[in-house]
């Protein structure tokens, strides 16, 4: 058994080196992507990863506090993006989108955050609160049910067609020079907002009263209750904060990709879940880092590793790269890259 795992570990490293070497050889002979292309790949990977990270925060917080995976969190994210679309569309029609983009995008962001928070809190109240005392599998299955229910409710309410946000102003679409690197404006904005949100969340969890309650409840509910913390309210707050993060991600998604539909949340949800595990579930900075890393693996991995083997259509295999990376990370480091946090002894 252990021999097998060692073979896997060594084999993985050899294949990785071989693939990268192949790509390097290709690059030196002038066949591979150019330097600018690599830069674009890295930036796109980080931008996509930042969004995974924001969604992953919701998974991680809920996991830390309640110890179960909220499968429906991807749909919380989708709901924000979807309602944001209608607000954005209205602002486009009244021309505010063009005349004062900053105000418009703030309004969209606000509506997106409100929707996602509301959906997360309602779901907690109706579906998860009655299940607090059940074995862990039960809320997980419930969340799969909620996920389907939300998807198809949104499909029924708003139709199945892809909805395209109005285009952002030209200033966001052109490239900005930053530290000698030329980066597309919207991607830079996404990365900056994601980092700012993350810092805000960190301060919230570390410095505020509610944040301390969340940590206390994650550590031990019973003792937290004895210390006078309202456990129910704290759990609602956890869902609300996770929902708000997903709402931010919804608006960033709109800036980056502009298309939303009722299944928009599913795949990013699974990826964010992967990111949370990758970074060490329950660990908030880990979730963010896991997201960025996963985005990078997906964005750069196929070109960097697979293309070196001469495999055709490598982009098709980017989810293979992402999930293989997850498996390898867990084989090398079973608690994720940055270790679990929030309630360590829970997992004995």
């Amino acid at each position: 058994m252990d021999t097998f795992l060692w073979i896997v570990r060594v084999g993985a490293i050899i294949l990785l080196i071989w693939g990268v070497a192949g790509t390097v050889v290709q690059g030196l002979s002038g066949q591979g992507p150019t330097g600018e292309a690599w830069r674009d790949l890295v930036v796109a990977g980080i931008a996509q990863g930042a969004m995974y990270g924001l969604i992953a925060l919701g998974y991680s917080m809920v996991y830390g506090v309640l110890g179960f995976i909220n499968f429906a969190h991807g749909e919380v994210f989708m709901s924000g993006g979807m309602v944001g679309f209608f607000v954005a569309n209205y602002l486009w029609e009244v021309r505010l989108w063009e005349t004062n983009f900053v105000l418009a995008i703030l309004l969209v962001l606000l509506s997106s955050i409100l929707t996602s928070t509301l959906v997360a809190v309602i779901v907690e109240r109706i579906a998860y609160r009655p299940l607090r005392a059940s074995p862990r599998l039960i809320p997980l299955i419930t969340s799969i049910g909620i996920s389907f229910f939300l998807q198809y409710t949104f499909a029924g309410l708003f139709g199945v067609a892809v909805k395209n946000y109005p285009p952002p102003p030209d200033s966001l679409r052109s490239r900005v020079s930053l530290l000698g690197l030329e980066i597309e404006g919207s991607k830079l904005l996404v990365i900056v907002v994601a980092v700012a949100t993350m810092v805000g969340l960190y301060l919230f969890v570390e410095k505020t009263r509610t944040g301390r309650s969340i940590r206390a409840v994650a550590e031990d509910k019973e003792i937290a209750a004895l210390m006078g913390i309202d456990v129910n309210r704290t759990i609602v707050a956890t869902f609300a904060v996770g929902g708000a993060m997903a709402g931010v991600a919804g608006t960033l998604w709109a800036l980056l990709f502009r298309g939303v539909s009722f299944i928009t949340g599913f795949l990013p949800g699974i990826k964010a879940f992967t990111a949370a595990v990758l970074g060490g579930i329950g660990n908030l900075p880990g979730a963010m880092a896991g997201g960025v890393l996963l985005g990078l693996f997906e964005g750069v991995g196929p070109q960097l590793v697979l293309a070196g083997f001469g495999i055709p259509g490598v982009s098709q295999l980017k989810d293979v790269v992402a999930f293989t990376a997850l498996v390898l990370v867990l084989i090398f480091k079973p608690t994720g890259l940055f270790g679990e946090r929030l309630s360590a002894e829970d997992r004995a």
Partner: protein
């Protein structure tokens, strides 16, 4: 004996059809379902079926329709899931065609419950099982996806029924257009959709001869339809002396296209053929401007992107789109007299939205093709209408009329569509209709 009688019957039918042309009109009443021909008065309906004294069914049996009963046909399209946008207009096209055509020999035509092919082989098979369990069904309009047709056809064909697809493009369902039957071809299969090979060749001819490019790449999304188009384009383009720099692929659900575009860039293609659907096609158009080296590449989309929610994207301006000639406005279905404009008006009125793909027209023509053939082979004995299944297949092979999509004539493997491809250039995202009509290249084999 039987053969002679059948020939006699067929010629009698043909005679009566010729005589019957132009007789009668449909009278759209207030309760009638939406119809595209309310403004047109050249509808060929309400012809009485030829009265004969005796009817002997052919080798595949026959459908009997007693007085007062309806003639049963079925729709088998993808109406749920992520591909539903492609199947729903098909089903609605059939509904409108039945309303336009009116009754056959005094019997109305019923579509029954619409079936769902679920865009998968097992979905097609299960639905076909349900369809063939009802021996009164004459024929099927479907499927939307080629994978469903592959599993549905053994049942449909085995039951002696016919199936006419408005949107299957895979060559293996009919033939390679060089006289070799496809691996999944079965008698009873027809389609009004073009054979995917034609689409690929048309785009190759456009890119190679019209644009004069010699380097091109393609991107598909792992769907049998898009991968087939990408493949046939690549083959044809190389046949014309061009170089295919990359056959890249994305997955359905992907949003970040930088990776795939970066992989395409090193071959420095002059054009990228993009037979994929929305939303992935939209993401490619939006993001390609941000990939160094591809800012000026020419994008050529296919029928899946000839839809409003792609053409309304500002980044779709300048994209070439190949597909069925969508200047249907001038085309009329010669049987019902409906023009595309009539149809679209009726569609909007009935369903509150514009069709989400262009295949509604193929579905409309497919349904008319089936109804017209039924009309021609049905005979009446003592008030009971008989539709012979073998004769119906033969009649379908002889189909020849002008549909909304163009001239409909069938080859021996059931390819009946107007194999005519038009390439339009889309220039103004605020005027989608202009884009659909701005034909810059036409191709007919």
């Amino acid at each position: 004996m039987i053969g002679v009688r059948r020939i006699g019957l067929v010629s009698l039918c043909l005679f009566l059809v010729t005589v019957g042309c132009g007789q009668g009109q449909s009278q759209p009443g207030s309760d009638d379902p939406p119809s595209a021909t309310s403004a047109v008065d050249s509808v060929e309906t309400d012809r009485a079926a030829p009265e004969v004294s005796e009817f002997l069914p052919g080798p595949l049996g026959a459908v009997e329709v007693a007085p007062g009963q309806e003639i049963q046909i079925r729709s088998l399209n993808t109406i749920t899931g992520v591909t539903a946008f492609a199947g729903i207009p098909n089903q609605r096209g059939v509904e409108l065609a039945i309303a336009d055509y009116g009754p056959i020999a005094g019997r109305s035509v019923s579509l029954g419950t619409p079936f769902d092919d679920l865009c998968s082989p097992e979905g097609g098979q299960s639905a076909a099982q349900t369809i063939v369990a009802d021996p009164t069904v004459v024929g099927v309009i479907g499927t939307t996806c080629s994978s469903s047709a592959a599993a549905a056809m053994p049942l449909i064909s085995g039951a002696g029924m016919v199936m006419i697809s408005p949107s299957n493009a895979s060559p293996w369902l009919t033939s390679d257009l060089a006289g070799n039957a496809g691996s999944a071809y079965l008698p009873g299969y027809f389609r009004t959709c073009y054979n995917g090979l034609v689409q690929g060749r048309a785009v190759a001819a456009f890119v190679r001869d019209h644009l004069g490019f010699d380097r091109a790449a393609t991107i598909h999304d792992g769907d049998a339809f898009t991968q087939g188009l990408a493949r046939s384009f690549a083959d044809a383009f190389e046949g014309l002396g061009g170089v295919v720099t990359a056959v890249a692929a994305v997955n359905k659900g992907d949003t970040d296209m930088i990776g795939v575009l970066t992989g395409v860039e090193p071959g420095s293609p002059q054009a990228v053929f993009l037979p994929i659907f929305m939303p992935e096609g939209g993401f490619v158009a939006q993001q390609i401007g941000g990939v160094s080296g591809l800012e000026r590449v020419t994008l050529v989309g296919a029928a899946p992107l000839l839809v409003d929610n792609f053409m309304e994207l500002p980044e779709s301006e300048g994209v070439f789109l190949s597909g069925p000639d969508l200047r249907y406005g001038s085309n009329r279905n010669s049987i019902t007299g409906a023009s595309a404009d009539d149809f679209l008006a009726a569609y909007e009125a009935a369903y509150g939205e514009a069709p989400s793909t262009g295949f509604w027209a193929h579905a409309y023509d497919a349904a008319i093709m089936l109804l017209r053939a039924i009309d021609r082979v049905a005979v009446e004995v003592d008030g009971t209408l008989y539709i012979d299944r073998q004769t119906l297949r033969e009649e379908l092979h002889r189909t020849s009329f002008d549909g909304i999509t163009g001239s409909i004539t069938c080859d021996e493997y059931g390819d009946c569509g107007a194999q005519r491809i038009a390439v339009v250039q889309h220039t103004d995202s605020r005027d989608v209709e202009a884009g659909k009509n701005n034909v810059v290249f036409e191709y007919a084999p």
